[in-house]
Each structure stands twice: as C-alpha cells, then as structure tokens.
C-alpha cells in the first residue's frame, strides 16, 4: 500500500541515548520508593521522607537526562523533519489475538511534562519536610505523595491508553487520600469524597472513549502500523488517516473530553477543585494546581489528532472544547472575587487557567496551551507554597485573608517577593513567563478565527489581574489582623484552621513551638520553605524565555523541541521500535514554505503514501500592538481593583462598603457567586437525590408490597392448608410416627450438638473438609 513512498523516502538517523531509551524507569523509581516507605518508612530516622525525596530527585535526574537527549535528537535532525517518538513496549496482557502493552512513548510533550512533574514533586516534598513536621500521619503523607508522582509520571510516559488509565486512576486515588489526609475533620473527608466521586463521573468517559476508539481503530492500526488500537501513536495516525467514521471518532472524542472535564476541573464539573483545598497546602500545590489537574489537558494534547478530527477543531465554528474552556475561564475568575480563603482564590484561579489551556487546545493553539501547562506549573505551585508559608509562619494555620492576614510584606519579605513575581506571571505581565504562554493562547485563538473566544480570553486576563490584586492587597498590605496581629482565637470556626487545629491534637509536635512563634508575631519561614519558593519564583520569571516569540525565532525553542511536525511519514517511521537508534523517514517531497510555516496536508486532507502523526496547525505572528493591548487590559484590571480595594478595605468608603446589600443587581450577582452558581445544590440536592431517592423509594415499595405480599399470601395459604392437614392427617396418622422419629432425632441431635460450636472457624474447617472429600470422590469417580 505504501510501497512507492518507501522508494522515494529519505532516511534520517536520529540520535538517541540511554535516558531516552529508558524513560520508563522514571515512574518506576517513585513506585519502588512508595513500597519502601510503606514497609520500612516508620522505622527510618526521617520516617520515610528520605525515600520520597531521594526518589523524586532520582526521577528528576532521569527526566533531565531524557529531556537533554531529546533536545539533542531534535537538534540533530534536519529542519521540518518528523522526529519519531522513542517507543518501547512489552506485552502486558494478551489472549486470543487481543493484546495490549506497557511501555513508553517519549516525545517532546512527554519530556516537557515529565520534567515539570518531577521538578515540582521534588520541591514540594522538600517543602513538606518542614510544613508537615511532626504530623501524625507523616509517613503516610509521603507515601501517598510519592505514589502520586509515580502515577502521574506513568501517565505521562504511557505508550497506550490502558497504561494512561492506570496512571490516571492512581492519581485519582492519591488525590482522595491526600485531600482527606486530616480525615478526623468531617469537612475534609467530605471534600475528599466529593473530589473522588466528581472525577469518577468524568472517568466513565475515559473508559467509554477508550473502548469506542479501540474498536474503531484496532483494525486499521494493526494492518497499517502493526500496533494495537490502544496505542497512542496508532490512535493519532488513525485519526488523521481518513479511515475513521464520523460518528465513531466524534463519540470517542466527546467521551474522552468528558474525562478531561472531570479531571481538569472544567465547567460544569469544576466544583470539586476548590473543596479539594481542604488537603494540606503542599498537596494543593502539587496535585491541585500544577500537575494532577492538568492531566485532562494533557490527555487532550496527547491524542490531539483524535480531538482535532472528532471535534472539528479549526473547522470554522465553535466546538465543544473551546466553548467549555471559555465558559470555565470566566465563571471561575468571577468566583475568585468573593472568596475570603486565600487558597480558594488560588483554586478558582487554577480552574480559570485550566480553562485557558482547554480553550487553546480547542482553538488549535496546541503549542501555547502546552507551554501554558509548563509555565503555569511553576508560578501556581509558587503561589500555593507562598500561601502555605504564610499560614505556617504568620497567620497561625489560618487561610482567611480578611480575618487573619494583612500587612505581611514587612514580616515575610521572601514570601512577598516570590508571591509578587508569581502573581505578575499569572496575570501575564511582560516579561514574566505567563505572558509568553497565556498571551500566545489568546493571540492564537483570535488568529484561528475564534474571535469571540479571544475576547473571552482578554476578559479573563482583566479578571485575573483584578482578583489577584485583591488577594495580594488583603494579604500583604494594610494592617495585620487576627492571628497575624498576634491574636489567638482558639474557637476558630473556619474550616482550614479547624482542620489544622484538629490534627494538632494528634501530635503535631511543631505546633507547640508554633504557638511560641506566633506570640512573637509573624515571621519569615525557614529555609526548607523559602528555598523552594525562590527556585519556583525564578522559574516563574524566566521559564517564558524558552518560547519567547517577541524576540525572534531563536527564542522559539519550546516550539522546536516539543511541537510534532505535521509531516506525511512512512508508516514504519513511527511504528519503528528499536533499542539502539531511533529512525525517521520523511517523504521526499519538500513541503512548500508559506509564511514561515510549512503546509502539509495533515489534518485537512487524507494523506496519500503515508500517515500523519500530527495535524498542521497555524501560529499567529507576534505583534507588539496586540501585546500592548492585552497589557493595557491587565493594567486596567490592576488599577481598578487597587482603587476598589483601597476604598473598601482601607478608607471604608461609605459608597462602596455594603454596596451589595443596597444595589439589587449587584446583590443578586454576589449571592449567585457566594453560592457558586448553585451548582453544588444542583448536584447534591437535585441530581443525586433524584437518582438515589426514587431508587430507595422503589426498593422500599417493592419490599413492602410485592415481597411482603407474596410472603403474606403464601403464609395465609399455607396456614389454611396446614389447618386441614393438621386436623385430618397429622393428628391421626403422623403423630404416632413422629413421636417415634422424635426420639431418634433427639438422640442424633445430642450426638451432633458439639458440631454446632458457634465457632466460625470450625464451620469453615468442616466446609473445607467436606469439599475435600467431595473433590476426592470426584477424582476417584472420574478415573
């Protein structure tokens, strides 16, 4: 079928290396460490945390090695060539011609996310050494954190959908365990359950989607590439091959996207993410802001061709992904305004930023969206760790901005500095990293013709600047309040504080020393906390230069290293699996250069003489005028919010204070936001009840009417018959016989009585003894 293509193809030998070939080791290291912590952790001098930190450091070194060798591989290849991923598989399961493997699929996207996950995990574990010192379940905490990293890294290197699901579910489990880390507090365990069930709702889509795609694609992938329909490279090529039927790929893409909605906190399943802040702050920082919640975005980016074809991205009209992303940006950003808990502001901010990533992917801006995963991880992890630093050292374990914070910039200069840098990065201010990713998303969304969503993105940028200004103002400016001012109020009613107090009862040794600290007033945290903050802030400042479009092509390294080239390739080019040297073949027809980007038929037409692994995407050229406009919008958000904050919180201006109670429209909006658009009510009171309630009612009715009726009816009938039998037969005939039998039975009964010892184990022994005799009889009879 592809014979001609092979003849005209040029062969390129790509460099590879040990780390690239053995990227599968990266998730194995923390997985082994998890078992070490579980079995030996409590006996170790550092209670198992040393295994966790060491394994994350090892994973980071391996991921760094893999990234370096991938960059070598890309740099050594000719311009525009398709860089084949480094794929390895071992058979995991096979029977009757059906099989799936376990292995690695390493390309630019993989190494970028591997690096981020390993890096943030390492820093967060170091931070946790101090933050959770003396916690009752210290060892378990590190075990869960390490297992999470193993799951996430496994999902990222996954060669096929089954392996991806494995990692995905491990992450879900660890998320549940870690949110409920202080489960003695009812609110925490409820939050853990809510997170688990909400994401499970989406996970149904993951299983369904994988099944739909497997049954549609398996034949094609087996014939053309020699891989199963679960394989990621198989699915990618299949989606662009023209083979898939419209219904199959659309249903598959929608089902997979529902999983992404659940995991990545997109509207309408975002409600679990803010509640997940009940977990310890390092958990919020690692799982619920920078790594786990981007799993959904990663899934879409991973098998992007499926979504590209299934959702008709760049098809001229709005699609499911871009709409969901757009809605998420705005509703989450609005919710951030009414939060008084600093972590909840950051949580809604995370939801909103995930909306940007989704919107970018939905509008064909693959690279900016992936780059936003990369930069967002650094600055959002930094913001969360900063919030943890404040509560740890200054506000006496409280996260309430209005009650217990304020004026902290004088006491915590390092936390304040890193916070400001990360906030500027989050708002997308030039030249911080967020500018190069978020602005690119907005720009490319507009460039690809989704104008409405470009304005949604700009509105989101305005809101982001405004709510972050409010949070920064409340936390670091003004006068210290509550716990930060040294007041001790032990009768705390707010959740996060109560959670901390609660676990303090269970032996948070550091807590006592903390009371001493707090009475000295707020102060800067120790180096185990500040060093990770400084490292992350440095990256929040500088990581954008990996793909700094305004400075010309030389700075577009991330694009060069990560974005797969949309080339028509010989099927062996990507099906090729080898231990030594990777290989790519490119079709000899050199694609025509057009506006700096090569045009290939991938994504728009059915490729002839080969397969495509990635669709052809456009990149918006950079214009300072557009950047200046979004900077002005951010500045406007910043100034307006600052003005309102000063009037409201510092001057207590009568015009502003209590405005929501006086103005009906504003009051309605405020009430809607405080009640989170009533989505929780809808889910818990209406949907869950409307499903669970009728079922229990129906079961009760069935039990009362049908079963009891049958039983009662049978009873009455039996009674009638029994009466007749009693009068006519029993009294005359049977009694005589029975009395005789009775005495026999009594004898037998007293003989057998010791058997009825009431001991379950003895019953079990009798059961197995009888079964053994039965089996013996069976064997003898059959031979």
């Amino acid at each position: 079928m592809f014979a001609e293509a092979t003849e005209t193809a040029t062969e390129v030998v790509l460099s590879s290396g040990w780390f690239l070939e053995h990227a599968w080791v990266i998730p194995v290291i923390p997985a082994l460490s998890f078992f070490l912590i579980i079995f030996f952790g409590k006996r170790m001098p550092k209670k198992g945390s040393e295994f966790g930190v060491a394994s994350m450091f090892g994973a980071l070194v391996f991921a760094g090695g893999a990234a370096y060798q991938w960059i070598q591989r890309v740099n050594g290849a000719p311009e525009g060539a398709f860089i084949s991923p480094v794929v390895k598989t071992w058979t995991w399961w096979q029977n009757s011609g059906v099989s799936f493997g376990i292995g690695q699929h390493v390309d630019g996207l993989t190494v970028a996310i591997l690096l981020v996950v390993a890096f943030i995990s390492t820093l967060v574990q170091i931070y946790s050494l101090e933050y959770l010192r003396g916690d009752r379940r210290y060892t378990h905490f590190f075990a869960s954190l390490t297992l999470f990293s193993a799951g996430m890294l496994n999902m990222v290197v996954a060669e096929n959908m089954i392996q991806l699901i494995l990692g995905w579910e491990i992450m879900g489990l660890c998320s549940f365990l870690l949110i409920g880390h202080w489960w003695e507090e009812g609110a925490n365990s409820r939050a853990a359950l809510k997170a688990f069930f909400t994401t499970r709702t989406g996970d149904i889509g993951l299983l369904t989607g994988t099944a739909i795609l497997f049954f549609s694609a398996n034949e094609w992938t087996t014939k053309t590439l020699g891989v199963s329909g679960f394989s990621i490279r198989g699915l990618s090529s299949w989606a662009l091959s023209g083979d898939p039927g419209h219904a199959a790929i659309t249903m598959g893409a929608i089902a997979l996207f529902i999983a992404a909605i659940g995991k990545s906190g997109q509207f309408p399943l975002h409600t679990w993410l803010p509640d997940a802040m009940a977990g310890p702050t390092p958990v919020s920082s690692l799982l619920h802001s920078s790594t786990m919640v981007v799993a959904g975005v990663f899934l879409v980016a991973r098998v992007y061709p499926v979504f590209f074809k299934g959702m008709e991205i760049l098809g001229g009209s709005a699609n499911f992904i871009v709409v969901i992303g757009g809605i998420t940006i705005v509703i989450a950003a609005l919710l951030a305004f009414v939060q008084t808990d600093i972590k909840k502001v950051l949580a809604y901010s995370t939801v909103s930023q995930l909306g940007y990533m989704m919107m970018g992917l939905g509008a064909g801006a693959w690279l900016p969206a992936v780059f936003h995963i990369f930069t967002h991880a650094f600055f959002k992890a930094c913001l969360f760790l900063g919030a943890g630093s404040i509560s740890h050292s200054s506000s006496h374990h409280s996260f309430e901005m209005k009650k217990d914070m304020g004026g902290l910039r004088k006491f915590m200069p390092i936390t304040f500095g890193t916070w400001v840098i990360s906030t500027l990065a989050l708002c997308g201010v030039f030249p911080f990293s967020g500018f190069f990713s978020k602005d690119e998303i907005i720009d490319n969304v507009g460039h690809n013709g989704y104008n409405v969503f470009m304005y949604v993105g700009l509105a989101g940028a305005f809101l982001t600047a405004a709510y972050m200004t409010r949070a920064t103002y409340l936390t670091f400016f003004g006068q210290p309040r509550g716990a930060s001012a040294g007041e001790h109020h032990e009768e705390e009613s707010h959740d996060s504080h109560a959670a901390h107090d609660d676990h303090a009862d269970h032996g948070h040794d550091a807590h006592d020393s903390h009371d001493a600290h707090a009475s000295q007033g707020p102060h800067e945290s120790g180096w185990l906390i500040t060093v990770p903050l400084i490292i992350l802030a440095t990256l929040a400042l500088s990581s954008g230069f990996l793909n700094a479009l305004p400075f010309g092509e030389k700075f577009e390294n991330f694009k060069k290293w990560v974005e797969p080239s949309a080339e028509v390739i010989n099927p062996t080019g990507i099906a090729y699996v080898v231990g030594g040297i990777g290989e790519a073949r490119i079709a000899s027809e050199t694609p025509s250069e057009e506006s700096g980007h090569s045009k290939s038929p991938c994504g728009t037409e059915t490729p002839e003489q080969g397969v495509c692994a990635a669709p052809q995407l456009n990149h918006a050229p950079f214009k300072w005028s557009k950047a200046a406009m979004s900077m002005l919008i951010v500045l406007a958000g910043f100034l307006l919010s600052l003005f309102v904050c000063i009037q409201l919180y510092e001057k207590k201006n009568k015009k502003f204070v209590g405005l929501t109670e006086r103005n009906k429209v504003l009051g309605f909006g405020y009430k809607l936001l405080v009640n989170k658009y009533y989505l929780d009510v809808l889910y818990e009171k209406i949907i869950v009840r409307s499903i669970a309630h009728p079922i229990s009612a129906a079961v009760y009715w069935f039990n009362q009417k049908v079963l009891d009726g049958v039983v009662n009816g049978a009873g009455t009938t039996a009674k009638g018959i029994a009466g007749w039998v009693y009068r006519n037969i029993d009294q005359r005939v049977v009694d005589g016989a029975v009395n005789g039998t009775g005495s026999v039975a009594q004898g037998a009964g007293s003989a057998l009585r010791p058997v009825q010892s009431g001991k379950v184990n003895q019953y079990g022994a009798l059961l197995f003894g009888a079964a053994a005799i039965g089996a013996l009889v069976l064997v003898i009879v059959n031979t």
């Binding site: 029977n95 009757s96 009585r753 009431g758 379950v760 184990n761 079990g764 022994a765 197995f768």
Partner: protein
Amino acid sequence: MFVNQFLILAAVLFCIGVYGVIARKNAVLVLMSIELILNSVNINLLAFSMRNGSLDGHTFALYIIAIAAAEVGVGLAMVLLMYRNRRSIDLDELSEMKG
C-alpha cells in the same frame, strides 16, 4: 505453556487461604483469606484460559473479581457492625449460635 507453575501457585495460595480461614481469629484476616481463595481460583481459570486460547476464563475471572468486591463490601460492613456492637472483631467471641 507453563500451566503447571500457575496451578502450583494457585494451589499454594488456596492452601494459605484455607489455613487463614480455619486458624485466624480476626474477622478481617478471615475475609482476606477468603479473597486469597477466590484469587487462586482466578489464577486457575486464567491458566486454563491461556492454554486453551479462549477468553472464557478471563470473563469468569472478571466476574469473580466483581463478585469478590461485593462480597468484601458486605463482609466489611458486617465486621464494622460487629465492632460497633461488641468492640471486638474476634471470631471466638461470636458464639451465640452454639447449639
């Protein structure tokens, strides 16, 4: 194929399970032993399914896993109630059924 090894493994697991059911006093450990027995059966099913090259054994094994999950759910609920009522999950103390 190496069906023998699978069968030996299954037999060993089965014996450990039976020993647990008979000798253990702790209700949770008895439940775990029952799981071992069920899984040794699964291994047998899979081993023969592999030898015969059919998917039937896998299907049965999946059913058994699902049913085992339900069984453990019921069992653990009973253990929980037992604990609430008597502050102990020692099976020796549960001898009201003594004849």
